[in-house]
């Protein structure tokens, strides 16, 4: 390779091409900043929301519904609450592709996550570990590679201080009508970027029969 080729390679950013495929996230701003243009398929992505209920699941609505409509299954390993079917149906998620797996403890959750990630029938596996060791993330990473599925780990915001072998790590913070995403780590991409997304799943389905009210009106009713 001569110097010319090398410089072209560096300029085109070819050396940063991701090793894995990507599934479009459904958010153009996010896709533009993720290697391959979307969620890393065959890898683990860690989502670290500041709090529960800020839109951390809705962020995945487009990719999950696309995977499920393509015939792949979505595994929810020990979710903290009941995934509410009417909401998921509004996301255009075919419910028959969703499987909720109940476990009794972190060990079983980890095992179930690894098993489902390894199975090519699954397009995505969602898990909520309270804490997880590096080597276990690596295990899941290998399982995701073998199964070609997207592994999502929801981790507390404090986990951002720790190192993790996950391919992608995002910090999520709430903003008005959307979600602020900070790319904390990104294999084959640039970290440290901050984006603001407006979440379709939150804003698009505004109910017809609901009017904006003041708290005072509520008590009157």
């Amino acid at each position: 390779m001569n110097l010319d080729q090398l410089s072209r390679l560096c300029h085109d950013g070819e050396w940063r091409r991701p090793a894995h495929a990507a599934a479009p996230s459904g958010y153009a701003e996010l896709d533009a900043n993720l290697p391959g243009g979307g969620w890393p398929v065959g890898a683990i992505a860690e989502l670290m929301p500041e709090a529960t209920g800020i839109g951390e699941l809705s962020l995945l609505a487009p990719v999950l519904s696309r995977l499920a409509r393509a015939g792949r299954y979505i595994a929810w390993i020990a979710p903290p609450y009941l995934p509410y079917a009417p909401a998921l149906a509004q996301w255009q998620l075919p419910l028959k592709r969703l499987l909720i797996i109940h476990t009794r403890g972190a060990q079983e959750s980890l095992w179930a996550a690894e098993q489902t990630l390894r199975c090519p029938a699954f397009g995505a596996v969602l898990s909520w570990p309270a804490e997880i060791a590096d080597k276990n993330v690596r295990r899941l990473q290998l399982a995701a590679e073998a199964g070609g599925s997207l592994g999502i780990l929801y981790r507390p915001a404090t986990a951002a201080r720790e190192h993790s072998p996950a391919a992608l790590r995002l910090r999520l913070r709430p903003v008005a009508d959307g979600l602020a995403v900070e790319i904390h780590k990104c294999r084959g991409g640039r970290a440290g970027l901050r984006l603001q997304l407006s979440l379709h799943a939150l804003s698009d389905t505004s109910p017809a029969d609901v009017v904006a009210v003041h708290p005072a009106a509520a008590t009157r009713a």
Partner: protein, 421 residues
């Protein structure tokens, strides 16, 4: 006819009943290769008639290789001999190699140089033959049949005729039992579940052979662990799709053993199956590539259920009810995945936005401050005891969490029911 005789030297050391049980199981296993099976009552010998199935399995050499590979997998040391007569095949298992003889001419040539002692004749007959100056089988076979019958008795003559495939050689044919029951007794008690895996593997391989022979599959089979002075512990293994693959069975059993606590050491192991179904056709495809994703999924679900419990895997279902907590049901994935289930009624899909997390029970809270959207009035259930009159709102907390709250219109109390995650 072409007979394969398998001698299993390691069974000779076992008690008669154990040897018999092992041969019975092996007969069931061997039925996948031949429809005519027999085993000896006093020796660890198993016969298979291969003449009829040779063509089906690409000739006797290929078939023999498969059978021998199977025996190795089962963990049996073995000596195999092929001959046109069952008697000769049994004799050849005790003779040095070569032990494969395909026709009568070859058989006579092969038997001729062998020593007299290999003949399965009474000791006094052998002594009498020896006293007549005969040392090799060939020399005996050269004598006139009538002379042998006169000097050594008609049994000797008929034995030699059967040996050379000149007379019919009837054997009690083994019959395939209608339900499967196999038992394996341990010399010493087994204390750990991992140590059970080796005998289990053999049991399951034999079971697979039986299922192939009958051309059927199972949806459920039972393992029974016998203990000394303790009631039997049964473990039932269920499959979501009928199967007959020993490797698949073993994975399931291993997952079950992982969480199984046995009350006492195991002295014997039984495997039984009573109900059989026709085989599912999805097996290795033309190019021998990996199994279909659906099959893999079913195997995975079986594994998850075996380890995490029968009800650990659930699917979501919409339910037509205006009360939010009744709008969603957890059901067994088999009931929802089947194409036969009726389509979800559209009425069950509410127009208004719904949160993606639902709390198991509405949680009593203080009146929230940051109401953003609402109210959405839900009144339902007045026809039964579960009357609901609520006003639903979307509320934002200071931390930015989006809550789905309602005010009970009868008591005026506020509840949190969901999260817009």
């Amino acid at each position: 006819m072409l007979w394969l005789c398998i001698r299993l030297p390691q069974l000779a050391r076992e008690a008669f009943a154990d040897q018999h049980a092992a041969l019975e199981r092996l007969a069931g296993w061997a039925y996948q290769w031949s429809s005519l099976i027999s085993y000896a009552s006093d020796e660890p010998l198993l016969w298979l008639e291969l003449g009829a199935s040779c063509a089906l399995f690409d000739g006797h050499a290929a078939l023999l290789a498969r059978i021998e590979a199977g025996l190795v997998q089962l963990g049996y040391s073995h000596i195999c001999a092929l001959a046109p007569s069952a008697t000769a095949a049994a004799l050849l298992t005790r003779a040095p190699a070569p032990r494969h003889v395909l026709d009568r001419m070859q058989l006579r040539q092969r038997l001729a140089p062998l020593p007299l002692q290999l003949l399965a004749l009474p000791a006094e007959t052998l002594a009498a033959l020896h006293a007549s100056g005969l040392r090799r089988i060939g020399q005996v076979l050269e004598l006139a049949a009538s002379a042998i019958a006169r000097r050594f008795g008609p049994e000797t003559q008929s034995y030699l005729q059967r040996l050379c495939a000149q007379a019919s050689d009837p054997r009690p044919a083994w019959c395939l039992p209608a339900s499967y029951l196999a038992r394996c007794e341990f010399g010493s008690e087994v204390r750990t579940t991992t140590a059970l895996l080796f005998p289990l593997q053999r049991l399951l391989l034999e079971f697979q052979g039986y299922l192939r022979a009958r051309d059927c599959s199972v949806l459920r089979f039972t393992l029974l662990f016998e203990h000394y002075r303790h009631p039997i512990s049964p473990v039932s293994i269920g499959l979501s799709a009928a199967g007959r693959d020993a490797a698949q069975f073993l994975t399931l059993v291993r997952e079950r053993l992982h969480s199984l606590v046995l009350p006492a050491p195991v002295s014997a192991l039984r495997l039984q199956a009573h109900e059989f179904t026709s085989p599912s056709i999805v097996q290795g495809d033309l190019f021998g590539s990996a199994a279909q994703p659906l099959q893999q999924l079913q195997q995975l679900l079986d594994r998850l259920r075996a380890r995490l419990g029968e009800n650990s895997v659930r699917a979501l279902q919409l339910h037509a009810d205006y009360r939010p907590e009744r709008g969603c049901r957890l059901v067994s994935p088999d009931s929802s995945a089947h194409p036969g289930t009726p389509a979800q009624p559209d009425a069950a899909r509410p127009e208004a936005a719904r949160p993606c997390w639902l709390l198991p029970e509405p949680l009593r809270i203080d009146a929230p401050s940051g109401l953003v959207r609402g109210p959405e009035r839900i009144e339902s259930g007045w026809w039964n005891q579960d009357d609901v009159r609520r006003d639903y709102y979307l509320a934002h907390t200071a931390e930015g969490t989006r809550l789905w709250v309602f005010r009970d219109r009868r008591a005026g109390e506020w509840y949190l029911q969901g999260l817009w995650a």
